[in-house]
Symmetry: none
Subunit: 231 residues, 2 copies
């Protein structure tokens, strides 16, 4: 990852932290303000990334060993001469490319983004799908979102966790019976309308989607209340 | 979006900026340090979001009008009692839910994340797929990544209304409170373990997915039992 012209040590540190979070290790900073770079080095949470960070004089030097250079932009702030890809699609292309060579992901300064000179080193650009009315992201947040998307798109299939298994009918009916007993003790069930009240409660309990893992605890809860009502 | 216990005005401001970038407008901050909240209000780049931000005393108050409450976590820092979903899948569920009701996305403090008490208000949790070796993200960056994923996952998705609208958090908490009262009266809640029992019950109730249409009836059922226990 390459930061060109970042001015704020907090942002450099935040970028390094996101890299560490998502498993990226090679940070290059082009022509940083000396003070900002030094302060960022002492940032907590990404010591390894910052210690290995390289300082480069030019973007050309920073991207030298990369076979794909991708710029990032808040669209619309200048005329673009590059193909502009939605982050989601761009990230997939980046993943593919990483199998065979180095990719440089290039971020510009907080204030001005990438210069035309910086952009001229890029093969294409990605943008994060922010609102038109407020497109410009904080640098550290933009880095985090881009790296997240690269990692995510590589995770392949969307893995769904197993849904919470519902309790068996027997347990649901046990719950219902205990609840009905408590309601009889409490005077909620009137003799005249007992049958319809019981049906109503039975439906009510079924609409709760009682999970199997909780069935025993719920039965214990109801037994305790019932015991108390009767004592 | 709800920030519980955020300490750093820069992070509150960064969260607000990401909300503005991705088109989210309702920010609630639970029990913030006064100074941090005031300073964040003057943060650039998200004036509209910060001006409309609400201060709440408790998480319960902050989630009261929401029908789904989702916590965020760096996995593994404590034993979790909730279903934990990958952000990608969780974001899709959140999108679906937004068609029919308010969703609260809950972030904890920079240092400690969400407390067990905070977590007990959640239906389930999402985690961003960070590295195991360095899972903990900067708060502003975590917010940006989560909101990006929610927006992204909605880009092409067809929105189906939920089959059965869930009850709002306020009603679910009402149910919880009445049940807890009944359990106190019954001797189920022991003084020594009251806090953890209450959290356990709170989670238990959330896993029931109480439907909105049944909320009133359930409250009546519990009130009747409670009245009887006390008479």
């Amino acid at each position: 990852m390459i930061l060109a012209g970042a001015r704020n040590p907090l942002n450099i540190g935040a970028a390094a932290r996101a890299m560490s979070n998502f498993g990226f290790s090679r940070l290059r900073v082009v022509n940083p303000y000396e003070v900002a770079f030094r302060e960022a080095r002492s940032a907590v949470g990404a010591a390894a990334v910052m210690a290995a960070a390289e300082e480069c004089k030019t973007v050309a030097e920073a991207v030298a060993d990369c076979t794909l250079v991708v710029g990032t932009t808040a669209v619309g702030h200048r005329q673009l001469h590059h193909p502009l890809r939605r982050l989601e699609y761009g990230a997939r292309l980046i993943r593919k490319h990483l199998a065979s060579g180095n990719v440089a992901l290039l971020f510009g300064s907080e204030k001005f983004g990438l210069s035309n000179e910086d952009l001229s080193h890029c093969h294409w650009l990605v943008r994060v799908p922010t609102r038109d009315e407020h497109g410009s992201m904080n640098l550290g947040q933009a880095v985090a979102v881009c790296l997240y998307e690269i990692v995510r798109s590589g995770a392949g299939a969307s893995r769904k966790p197993a849904a919470m298994a519902p309790a068996a009918a027997e347990e649901v009916e046990g719950f219902t019976e205990l609840l009905l007993e408590a309601l009889r003790e409490s005077g909620y069930v009137k003799a005249r309308t007992a049958a319809s009240t019981e049906q109503k409660i039975r439906r009510l309990v079924r609409r709760l989607n009682l999970p199997a893992r909780d069935a025993e605890v719920w039965l214990g809860v109801l037994r305790q209340i019932l015991w108390r009502l009767r004592s």
